[in-house]
Amino acid sequence: MDFGPHLFLALLEGSITAAVLALTAVGLSLVFGIMRVVNVAHGEFFMLGAVFAWWITSMLGAHPVLGFVLALLFAPLLVGLIAATTDYLILRRINYNPERTIVATIGVLYIIQQLTLMTFGPEARPVTAPFNKRIALPWFENGADGFTLIWPWGLGTTTYKLAVIVAAVVILLMLWLVLTRTKWGLIMRATQLNSDMATAHGIPVDKVYAMVFGLGAALAALGAVLVVPIQQAHYLMGADPLLLSFIVVIIGGLGSLLGTVVAAVFIGLSDGIISVFFSPTLAKILATLLVAFVLIFKPNGLFGKSAE
């Protein structure tokens, strides 16, 4: 009962990270793909999702399941509205100039983070999971007395953690359906291909941009609501998702959604494994250096297409 089971557990924990990371990073990737801007405040939208989830569940004081369902619906909606307003008030006025957008979104990052500090406070606050039954994990061993099933063997997981993975997969599939099978998706893809041509065809590009920016932020918030019963809500929690989403989006190829999901699974799992068996700081150092070198030597990402 040593290496194998722990690896199994690390993989399971890693796939939760991967599921949440995939949602957050797809939001960032969507914004980059369609609007060609880098949103540095993305991690703060993630944090806002978690904070709103805490706010909704604790203000209502209702049954945890009802509270959580409401949080799942309204927290991303609120965050999406805030992001769309940001786009309308700031990004539209600087014409989505890539470099000025980065500077402006750094400003937005500090504004959101510090306003949260002033209102929500510096404490980490928990949110109760709607259901949280412990299940012990099975493990197979091919020992002296043949192939045996050992269950339970000590370590386990919870139903909620498994539900997070399922929920993330469902949301990503829905997003894919929206982008490829609906009129909204068609409009977004048309804007991505050529915004001038889209304008000429009567597509309100300004509104599409505001909506995409809101949608990207809402995806991050959704990921945060899913993860907040496992991890607590805190005003500085946006930094890690931001860094990891950057890593994922760059390794997956900027703007490629499929590449982003593949990279999220890869980074999530390896982060789980490296953090369990080595130091988490070392894992982060290696990941940041990987991003820098991927950008220098393979600017289209490991999974991205070559330049157009």
């Binding site: 000025r100 402006a104 400003g107 500090y110 510090q114 860094l243 700081t281 070392l282 820098a292 600017p299």
Partner: protein, 314 residues
């Protein structure tokens, strides 16, 4: 008066004013001013790259921290005196800026910003990872006995102020000379139109690399002076926040002006100093400033002065 002598007079006037301020201001403010002068060197280094060459780096804290740790680690662990420690700090910042410049210049635009950010983040995490030597977030406090240069104790308010002012003035005049030299003009040409500068026969990659090295070395010098004068080196100075600060100072003061970094640095320092009396969320001010500056005044304070009143402002 021609432009060059006007510019020289202006720089001399600023330096003279700063000498006078020491006797005019109460001790609390002259202590602050010493800090501002040291940080303004950092901002001037950043401005050379951002304001004059047009390269936006989000990872200058790496160079600042290279100087800071170069000096304090050698004072703390190697038991050398201030002059060799300072030389080690400068050598460290040159070495790091050569490496980063060589690697990061293979990218342009947004990719350049992210690459510099990632390298700085890796540097910050390394400072935490090597906590045994750097003491991570807690940081190293330098002993008072170590902070003595040629028998001058740099921990006293007056020596500290004038040492900061001396280094600042040297850098101030050096930058003023540099940006009017052929090198500085070529950097501006790259900022305005890179293709055209290349067509005219400038070796753009080499000039950009030189700009990064000069800028990184000035930032490292500022980091080393900061550790020497205020006796502390911690991992916070390597964090993203300290990469954002010089950008903010330069944007606020006016990118591409010699006096802008000092103005922006002083303005921001007092803005944060005043607001932190009311709230712990003082970075809110920094955030609001960044957004307002990008929206309404992309040329900063000195940029406005240059546009409205003094078109010759260097």
């Amino acid at each position: 008066m021609n432009q060059a002598s006007k510019s020289f007079a202006l720089h001399g006037l600023v330096a003279a004013l700063l000498v006078l301020l020491y006797w005019v201001l109460p001790e609390y403010h002259s202590g602050n001013l010493a800090r501002i002068l040291v940080l303004a060197i950092y901002a001037m280094g950043y401005n050379l790259l951002f304001g004059y060459t047009g390269l936006l780096s989000l990872g200058h804290a790496l160079f600042f921290a290279a100087g800071m740790y170069g000096l304090s680690l050698s004072l703390h662990w190697l038991d050398v005196s201030v002059v060799p420690a300072m030389l080690i700090a400068i050598a460290a910042s040159i070495a790091i800026s050569v490496c980063i410049g060589y690697l990061a210049l293979r990218t342009t635009g947004v990719a350049f910003m992210i690459v510099t950010l990632m390298f700085a983040q890796a540097g910050y995490l390394t400072a935490l990872y090597l906590g045994e030597y750097t003491r991570g977030d807690e940081g190293i406090v330098l002993k008072q006995a170590d902070r003595v240069l040629f028998n001058i104790d740099l921990t006293q308010p007056d020596t500290r102020y004038f040492f900061a002012l001396l280094i600042f003035t040297l850098c101030f005049f050096a930058i003023a000379y540099l940006v009017n030299s052929g090198f500085g003009r070529a950097l501006v040409a790259i900022r305005e139109n890179e293709e055209r500068a290349r067509m005219l026969g400038y070796n753009v990659q080499r000039l950009k690399l030189l700009a990064i090295i000069t800028s990184g070395t000035l930032s490292g010098l500022s980091g080393a002076c900061y550790a020497l004068l205020f006796g502390y080196a911690g991992a916070t100075f390597a964090s993203v926040q300290y990469s954002i600060f010089p950008l903010l100072w330069v944007l606020l003061g006016g990118a591409g002006t010699t006096i802008g970094p000092l103005l922006g640095c002083a303005f921001m320092f007092y803005l944060i100093d005043l607001s932190s009396q009311f709230t712990t969320a003082y970075m809110l001010i920094a955030g609001i400033c960044l957004v307002l500056l990008t929206l309404f005044a992309p040329h900063g304070l000195a940029g406005v002065i240059r546009k409205r009143f003094l078109p010759w402002l260097p």
